[in-house]
């Protein structure tokens, strides 16, 4: 009964989404207040029914209802209860339901947080979100219904893919989706502005905090995914330029560009049509990512076996949303007048450079991701684009971008005298150059030109980001910093820390594949591994061979490492569980491979200096975003909203 209840709830949610997608937009166009007032209750109702549908799926999963096809395919009675719950996003149908649920959360948040915005505009935003939601619910309902029954039911399920049986699975997909789907909010704001023809600095001010929140989730989601890949999937790699990784990374790059462009639009009233275009592009790339992962065009851990109808449906939605918004955009773009000009050396110019470079980086990644698909579709053969392409093409725009960060954040709006910039920045620049060139040689003894350049730029970004906070908080001079400025400094500092980690971890990564027997001592990368034993251990739904190793450095014990190789019983697939010894400066990574005969096992040992800086840097970026949205001007907007809420309440209640 419960699954049918879930399906019914989904159908009702679709009806309410259709109401939300039509009446408020028509009302806004004709100035009918009663129709516009339907937006919030429709959104709230939709949220409730989507929540009921999601709860129904969870109920089926937690109660081992194997008469539901999705549960039978992605769960098992022996699965630990945590993973039974997270199996909801371990397959295609459930993850689409998660997509819809996340959009419903965003819609509710916008409905509640947009009370300070004129009703006509808020109705349009919610209406556009309703269109997106209706499209996605229809997609789930007609092509990927998670509540389909299985006749006859099976006695036990096919189990969750062992790769997904990991704590990372609890957080990575929902966080990523919050970011991914969150790109729909700036998109809705942009389309609403196109519909109303009014695109001013207020518009940018309303859009910006939503964009930042979506960006924070996207940053955290991608970082969690990368971390998960590092210790679970990748034998120690943290980024593979896998098409599915790219499809979450491209919206991140675009949202980052959008954040910066919105800053210019908010402060100076320029770059308007460009900002709108970025908002459309960011959401389109999110949808493209959904299409790439949900159609049979590629195979990876993320791609669930898919059927072509689904791919076509999503492609249709992508065409509708992107094409529709661009059709609205084309005749209006020239109407959005710039409210001022700027000089060649000014913050606007640096932000323009930021945008051009970020868009170039996105273009390079997009090209490398889609080219093999086109070639395949045209029947010209199967090719793949190797990671070196992405490394070169990504670094090419990103290194100058990072170098400009330090200058851009210290330049003023409209124009900055070059002399002043030079005077402020010369010591950080000299310092970065000295540290960046000397440190790699001093610590690692050798360095390539690219490493020196990247380390120098990373140190430069860190130093220039700390300049203002240090001046203000330590030396107590200069103007007080707003929260937005603090957030910016923190996020940019995070970029520097991340770059340092990425550069050093890639350039000085040590990797050894060795064969060893219990009792052997293996020396690798300045560490000593004493192979003590291999024994069998029994998990809840797997058996494993567990190695026991003592890790020593300079004869001193650093602890015991216990890598496992697991065999999951239902799907009979082996999984490597690496053991990692972590400290701030390096990770020692040890994975147990297969038995090689004659008592020997293959081992993969990796020593990765500064890899922790990757996660630290990404965390700082997200934290910077968090600090920035607590800025006074957004808090004031909320407070104004709260005082008007009492007036609006009866109207909403009556409707």
């Amino acid at each position: 009964m419960i699954p049918e209840f879930g399906q019914l709830a989904l159908a009702l949610a679709l009806c309410l989404a259709l109401v939300q997608a039509t009446l408020p937009l028509i009302g806004a166009a004709n100035g009918r207040v009663d129709w516009m007032a339907l937006a919030r209750p429709a959104a709230a109702g939709q949220f409730v029914f989507v929540a009921v549908a999601f709860a129904a799926l969870e109920y089926a999963l937690l109660n081992d209802d194997f008469s539901v096809e999705f549960v039978a395919a992605h769960s098992n009675s022996a699965l630990p209860i945590f993973y039974k719950a997270t199996a909801a996003w371990g397959g295609h149908e459930g993850s689409m339901l998660l997509w819809i649920a996340v959009l419903a959360i965003w819609t509710m948040a916008v409905a509640a947080g947009s009370r300070s915005v004129p009703q006509e505009f808020a109705s349009r935003v919610l209406g556009v979100l309703g269109i997106v939601s209706a499209g996605m619910i229809a997609f789930a309902f007609f092509t990927s219904n998670p509540f389909t029954r299985l006749t006859p039911p099976v006695t036990d399920g096919n189990d969750l893919n062992p790769l997904l049986q990991d704590p990372g699975m609890i957080f990575h997909p929902p966080t990523l989706y919050l970011g991914y789907v969150g790109a729909a909010v700036p998109f809705a704001f942009a389309v609403a502005a196109l519909l109303s023809g009014k695109l001013d600095r207020d518009w940018a001010k309303w859009t910006r905090p939503w964009t930042i929140v979506a960006w924070i989730f996207l940053t955290c989601g991608i970082t969690l995914g990368s971390w998960w890949a590092y210790y679970e999937l990748g034998w120690g790699g943290w980024w593979f330029w896998d098409p599915v990784e790219n499809s979450s990374f491209m919206p991140w790059l675009m949202t980052t560009a959008l954040l910066h462009s919105l800053a210019v639009t908010e402060r100076r009233g320029i770059f308007k049509s460009w900002t709108v275009l970025l908002a459309i592009a960011a959401f389109s790339l999110s949808l493209l990512g959904t299409f790439l992962t949900r159609s049979p065009v590629m195979i990876s851990v993320h791609a669930f076996a898919a059927d072509p109808a689904r791919g076509l449906f999503i492609l249709g939605l992508l065409g509708l949303f992107t094409g529709g918004s661009l059709l609205l955009y084309a005749p209006r773009a020239s109407n959005f007048e710039a409210e001022g000009g700027f000089q060649l050396v000014s913050r606007e110019a640096f932000l323009l450079a930021n945008n051009i470079l970020l868009v170039s980086a996105t273009g390079a990644v997009l090209f490398g991701t889609l080219y093999p698909l086109f070639i395949d579709a045209l029947g010209l053969g199967k090719i793949s684009v190797g990671p070196p392409y992405f490394n070169v093409m990504f670094l090419l725009p990103v290194l100058p971008l990072a170098a400009l960060v330090g200058v851009g954040m210290h330049s003023a709006w409209r124009m900055t005298p070059g002399q002043l910039l030079l005077r402020r920045l010369r010591w950080p620049a000299v310092g970065a150059l000295v540290v960046g060139v000397a440190a790699p040689f001093a610590i690692f003894g050798a360095a390539s030109a690219l490493t020196l350049l990247a380390v120098t730029i990373a140190v430069w970004v860190c130093a220039s980001s700390l300049l203002d906070p240090v001046r203000r908080l330590v030396l107590r001079t200069g103007a007080p910093l707003t929260r937005a400025q603090m957030g910016m400094c923190l996020a940019h500092f995070g970029v520097g820390v991340f770059m340092l980690g990425a550069t050093v971890a890639s350039a000085y990564n040590l990797e050894f594949d060795v064969s060893a027997k219990p009792g052997d001592r293996v020396e690798a990368g300045g560490y000593e591994f004493v192979f003590r034993s291999v024994r069998s251990v029994q998990g809840p739904n797997f058996t494993a061979d567990e190695g026991e190793f003592e890790l020593l450095a300079n004869g001193k014990s650093l602890g015991i490492l216990k890598p496992q190789i697991r065999l999951y019983q239902v799907q009979r697939s082996p999984m490597t569980e690496a053991a990692i010894d972590t400290n701030v400066l390096r990770d020692v990574f040890l994975a147990l491979g297969e038995p090689l005969g004659a008592d020997a096992w293959s081992l993969r040992i990796q020593v990765k200096p500064l890899i922790g800086f990757l996660w630290l840097g990404s965390g700082l970026m997200a934290l910077g975003g968090l600090v920035a949205i607590t800025d006074r001007r957004y808090r004031v907007a909320t407070r104004e909203a709260r005082s008007t809420e009492h007036v609006e309440q009866p109207a909403a209640g009556a409707a």
Partner: protein, 144 residues
Amino acid sequence: MRSRTQRKLFIGLVLVGITVAGAFAYRAFQENLLYFFSPTQVVAGEAPARTFRLGGMVLAGSFTREPGSLTSHFVVTDNVQSVGVTYTGVLPDLFREGAGAVVVGRMSGEREFAADEVIAKHDENYMPPEVAQALEKAREAKGE
């Protein structure tokens, strides 16, 4: 940007940047394209001398290794032709006889391939899509 000269300068710089980036892109792209070949194509002499991807089924019973050594040897087949593969290193979790695999490397002799990398990334049917297609093609060719 107020003055006309500044605007021209800016556009010029952007164009130069795009050209340089385009040239780099083209080179990086050409160097990193990896083509896929099936054992039938390799035996027919279609495979290049440079690095490429070879895919097929790992022939059941063909896997051997010196006890205790990291070097292994196995045969990749599309059920019509087959190519021997040598690889030194840790094999991926999902590598097994009778399942599909893609290996990256270059030819080391007549019907012998030296792999730098073994990829066993696939769906629940243990079959990378390229391999499934290659098998299909080989089967058709044989049937005719």
